[in-house]
Each structure stands twice: as structure tokens, then as C-alpha cells.
């Protein structure tokens, strides 16, 4: 088994699935010849040719619009948007077209496609290379939103996303691209969409998180252990469809919940999880449900490290709910 970074695992997933299924094509700005600005598609054009891995004009709506056309025609397109922050010219194609195609046509036409895009802060990228706007997509029926937190899941989830019959937003935590390594099998294994994983079992507080916040929560759990608090960390992996069973089971078990995300707090996906628990498991709650999130400001530059949730801020929330 190879030890790969998250970035290498994504590259491995793309190659693995492209070898198995000649309907799979991948494209975007700088994706072909140079292998992507982060090098996630490195070597793919060389192995599979310009027909299946290519550079596109600098046009996000063109990239997604073309991907929809390809998916309708029977290919399995994987479109890369260079940064999630640049996706908005394609918003119409994603929200009005890809997400609604199956429903509006009575399932006569479908869009099995993946939109891969790096998201999140921690690389000193300012407003336009740092945002976490997964809630926009989670708010749109018809889309799936998948966010891996480690190399193993990244490969397995991406293969599942490519094989899925519906459009999938695959958000890659760019801060973790090269930050951690893990064992990744060479086979074409899958990690199912819509299934969360309990990364660390615990009994005192449930931390719900995804993407780059998973290692932050794990570190907070370690710090809490020094204070004799046994923290459960749940990595959602897919925010839509949400694994409500795992979320509710954990909330019912611990009775104390903290949700951690990089995205701005107001109307972030944490609010949805909080509401779900309030609607379905209120009687189990021993403390208010708290959120540790980005502030309701545009993403900053110099004070990025202050803006982003860190293990200490998460620990402070853990202490709040345990001392309630």
C-alpha cells in the first residue's frame, strides 16, 4: 500500500477510474498540460491523451456548461474549478441546470458529473482563494456535496462521486493537500457518499466537522483528554445527503454538541445540523448546541490565523458545553 498525500490520493483516484472507465474525462483551467495549478491532475494528460484530459478556456460557466452537455451525452465528466472562490460565473449552470436536470425532465435526462474544486483557508490566499461556501450548494436540492479530510477517504469518495448518477460537488481542503499523508490502497475501492464516520469515539461531547476542520477537532479532542474529557469526533464526509442517523446517534449518546466549520457562521451548514438535532433529539441535550465557525465577515488576509477555528477555540466551546 502506498503512503500518499491527499493531493496524490486525488490524482490516484482520477487515474484509477480513468483506466477502468473510458467515459471518464477531466478538464478545466490549466488541468491538461501542466497538470493543474496544485498538480492534482499531473501526468493524466500524458497517460490518457488530450481527448480525455485537457485545458479549457478561462470560463467557469463554459467549463460547467460543457460538462453538463457531456454528461447528458453519456460521458462521466470531472470538471475542475481552480478555486471554489471562482465558481460563481458557473453558478447558473450548477444551480439552475445540473442540479435540476433529473427533476425537471422527469428523469429523462440526468447529469452524472463531478465538480472538483479546492476550498478553504490557511494558505494566505485572501478573499478569493480561501472561502468555504459549501452551504450554497447544500442549499440546492439535486446536488451532492462531498468534502474529504484525509487521503484514504479522498480517493474512495472521489471514485464514488465519479460513479454516482447525480452531480457531485467535490470540495478539496487545499490546506490539507500536502499537510498529511496516509495509506491508500492501489485498488479502485470506494467510500460511500452520504455516510459519516466516527473518527474518534467518545462519550462527553460530540464534535461534528468536515474537511480541514477534522484535524483541528482531533487536536482539540487530544487537548480535552488532558482535562479528562472524552470527545467524540464525527467527520461528516458528505454534507448532502447528510448522514442524519450517525449525527443523531452521536448527539443522543453524548448529549453535548459542538459543530465546527470554516464557513461563516450565519446560515452555515452548522445551523442545519443544530436544527436537525433540535427537531429530532432535543430531549437528549444537556447543553445548548454550539458552533465554532468563521466570522460573518469576508475572509481576511493578514488575520487569517485569527479568523480560522483552531483547536484552542474548539476546546473553549467544549468546556462551555461541559460546564453548562
Amino acid at each position: 500500500m502506498a503512503t500518499l498525500t491527499l493531493l496524490q490520493a486525488i490524482n490516484d483516484a482520477l487515474k484509477t477510474e480513468m483506466r477502468l472507465d473510458d467515459r471518464v474525462v477531466t478538464f478545466g483551467e490549466d488541468v491538461g498540460f501542466v497538470g493543474g495549478v496544485f498538480r492534482t491532475t499531473e501526468g493524466i494528460q500524458k497517460e490518457f491523451g488530450e481527448g480525455r484530459c485537457f485545458d479549457t478556456p478561462l470560463s467557469e460557466s463554459g467549463i460547467i456548461g460543457a460538462a453538463i452537455g457531456m454528461a447528458l451525452y453519456g460521458l462521466r465528466p470531472i470538471a475542475e474549478i481552480q478555486f471554489l472562490d471562482f465558481i460563481y460565473p458557473a453558478f447558473d449552470q450548477i444551480i439552475s441546470e445540473a442540479a435540476k436536470m433529473r427533476y425537471r425532465s422527469g428523469a429523462q435526462f440526468t447529469c452524472p458529473m463531478v465538480i472538483r474544486t479546492p476550498y478553504g483557508g490557511g494558505i494566505k490566499g485572501g478573499h478569493y482563494h480561501s472561502q468555504s461556501t459549501e452551504a450554497f450548494f447544500a442549499h440546492t436540492p439535486g446536488l451532492k456535496v462531498v468534502i474529504p479530510s484525509n487521503p484514504y477517504d479522498a480517493k474512495g469518495l472521489l471514485i464514488s462521486a465519479i460513479r454516482d448518477e447525480d452531480p457531485v460537488m467535490f470540495l478539496e481542503p487545499k490546506r490539507l493537500y500536502r499537510a498529511l499523508k496516509g495509506e491508500v490502497p492501489e485498488s479502485a475501492y470506494t467510500v460511500p457518499l452520504g455516510k459519516a464516520v466516527v473518527t474518534k469515539e467518545g462519550s462527553d461531547v460530540s464534535l461534528f466537522c468536515w474537511g480541514a476542520m477534522v484535524p483541528v477537532c482531533m487536536e482539540a479532542a487530544t487537548k480535552a483528554a488532558q482535562k479528562n474529557l472524552n470527545i467524540e469526533v464525527v467527520d461528516l464526509r458528505t454534507i448532502t445527503p447528510l448522514d442524519v442517523e450517525t449525527v443523531l446517534a452521536s448527539a443522543q449518546k453524548t448529549g453535548r454538541v459542538v459543530i465546527v466549520h470554516e464557513a461563516v457562521k450565519t446560515a452555515g451548514f452548522g445551523a442545519e445540523i443544530s436544527a436537525l438535532i433540535s427537531e429530532r433529539a432535543m430531549e437528549y441535550m444537556k447543553a445548548p448546541i454550539l458552533r465554532v465557525a468563521g466570522f460573518d465577515t469576508p475572509f481576511p488576509y493578514t488575520l487569517e490565523h485569527v479568523y480560522m477555528p483552531d483547536p484552542v477555540r474548539v476546546l473553549m466551546a467544549i468546556e462551555k458545553v461541559t460546564q453548562y
Binding site: Y73, Y103, L242
Partner: protein, 369 residues
Amino acid sequence: MEIVQILKPDGTLVNSSLEPKLSQEQLKKLYHYMVLTRLMDERGLMMQRQGKIGFYVTSTGQEAIVGGALALEKDDWVFPAYREHAVGLFLGMPLKIFIAQLFGNSEDANKGRQMPNHFAYAPIHYVSISSPIATQVAQAAGAAMAMKLKKQKTVCITYFGDGGTSENDFHAGMNFAGVYKAPCIFYCSNNQYAISVPVEKQTAQQQISEKAKAYGFPGIRVDGNDVLAVYKVVKDAVDRAKRGEGPTLVESYTFRMGPHSSSDDPTRYCPKSKLDEWAKQDPIKRFKAYLINKKLWSEKEDAALIGKIKQEISDVITEVTQAKPPALSTLFEDVYKEMPLTLQWQKEALLEEAKQKGSFKDSSEAFPL
């Protein structure tokens, strides 16, 4: 401005050498679908006025668009806007499917999920229509890229209006198709108005076909009220695409003789003189005169055809209106291939609510646009 025309408004040939070699059967089929479209539109608008359906989009004056459909083959794909009924019907969308879509009932192939005139019909690759303008243009380029990649000898044709050329996705689709030499035909129905906004306020380039130059492929302007000319330019574009020579932009110069939709009143923005002038260019009158000149058609046959089609439309309406509204559970289906648990919960809650309420009152107002 250069424009391809084969039939003069009186139905005589501009130049007999231009006359396409079409069989009697093909010519009559074109005419049949032009008349069907006109009559269906009259009936559709009437049904909207009577409150039987919520909305309707007519294509009156633009029926010659059907000429392009004759240039297509069964594996070609269509990415329509919402004023190409004639193309869909000609290619084989059953009238029953068309009319059921207007009613959005359980016979509707879209399961009542879209407002009238937003058709989709997979057997003829007539891709689902949406209301946002020109999104289909970029998609058509992508499907054409896929055809090329799969080495198919097929084409995509996408339809949009003069207003659509102002949208991002017109640019994106034209640009992508140009770069990848995709087998895509971009068919712009320049009917001179985007709802109330005249084409002069849409673009400073009044010959829309010229825009193709910016993308590195040919553009051609055709008399959009001349069904033979429309057939010819689309056929040439299809042949070119199938030879691997890439896309073509076709500008059909035409005129919307009716409202934008059932909710629009064109007398507020379109001078009557313009309407009168274009009435003389009526594509159906023109083609009928040509067929009569060729001794392929007669007034008697024409009256019989009109009577037959009106009866067929009435019969289908009677049949379709027997159908019930879509079942409540269909509200939740087809969001995803598999229904997520949260959606199952919502479905169960609605079915429970239905038990308590007995029925749901539809108090929606008529659509205002």
C-alpha cells in the same frame, strides 16, 4: 446585409438554382408541421385565456424554423430554447406529450415539474428546456465535444434568441465550440425583441451572424421566414460539422408576430406598422404559395389539413385532460436517483398532512411574465 433567401415573400423562387432537392413527401411534411405549430399555438394561447392552462409561449411567425429539423438525423441532439415547438414536433415529439406538458398532469413526461412550454423528450434527444436564457448554448457545445471525442458522426443544434447573445453562456458555448471544433450548430432566432427590448438595445452588431468571426468560425444570416432557406443553411452547417470542420452560427432573421408569452402585450412596445410589414412575410403563406405554384398543394387540401389538425388537437386535449394531477409522492422523486432519508421524512410528513387535510387548495395567481 447579405442574407440567404430561396423563396420570395410571394412564394416564388429567388433563383431556381438554389431550390433544394426535396421530395414531395418532405415538402409536405415541413408544411404540415408549420401548420400544426400555428394551430397548436392558437389553441394553446386560447386555453391560457380560458384559464385551462397557466401559461403559453407562441412561436407565431417563426414556424419556418422547422426547416432545420429536416437537416437533422435521428442521432443528432437538440438543445432548445422555448420557441422551437415546430422542431420538437417535427422530430417526433408526440402531440400528446406536447399537450400533456402544458397541463403538467400524470401524462406529462416531465411529471408536472415545469411550467408550460418547457419540454423535454429523450427519445428524440430534445434536451430539457429551462427558463434561464442561453444556458443550453454552453451545454450544446459540451455535448458536441463529447460526440467528437466518441467519434460519432452526429451534431448538436442549439436554439436561442437575439437576447440570448448577450448572455455569458452564448460567449462560453461559442468559444468552446470554436476552440475544440465541436460539431455544433448555433441557431439564433433574431426575432428582434427580447420580451420588450429591441435588438438595437441588445447589441451594437446588428448582424448577429457577424459575431461568429470573433470565435473563428463562419456565421451566416438566413431569411428566417423562408423554410427552404432555413433548411439549406442548417443542412450546410450540419454537413460541415459532420465533415469535422467545426461549428457554424446561423442567424435566422425573423419576427415574433405574437407576444413573448401569454402574459405579454406587445402593443405596448412594438409599433403596429412593424407587425403589418412582417405579416406580409408570413412563413406559412409563403411556403403554401410555393407548394401551390409547384402543383403540390391546393386550397382544398389546405382546408382539409387545417380541419384535420384542429380535430386532432381537440381530440388529444380531450384525452389528456382525463389524466389526474401527478401523485403527491412524485414531488419528492427524481431529486436524486435515490431518495435521501431527510427527503423520505418530508414525504412521509406530507402524506400524513394530506390525510388530515383531505385536499390541497391551489390558489396560485396567473403567471405575470
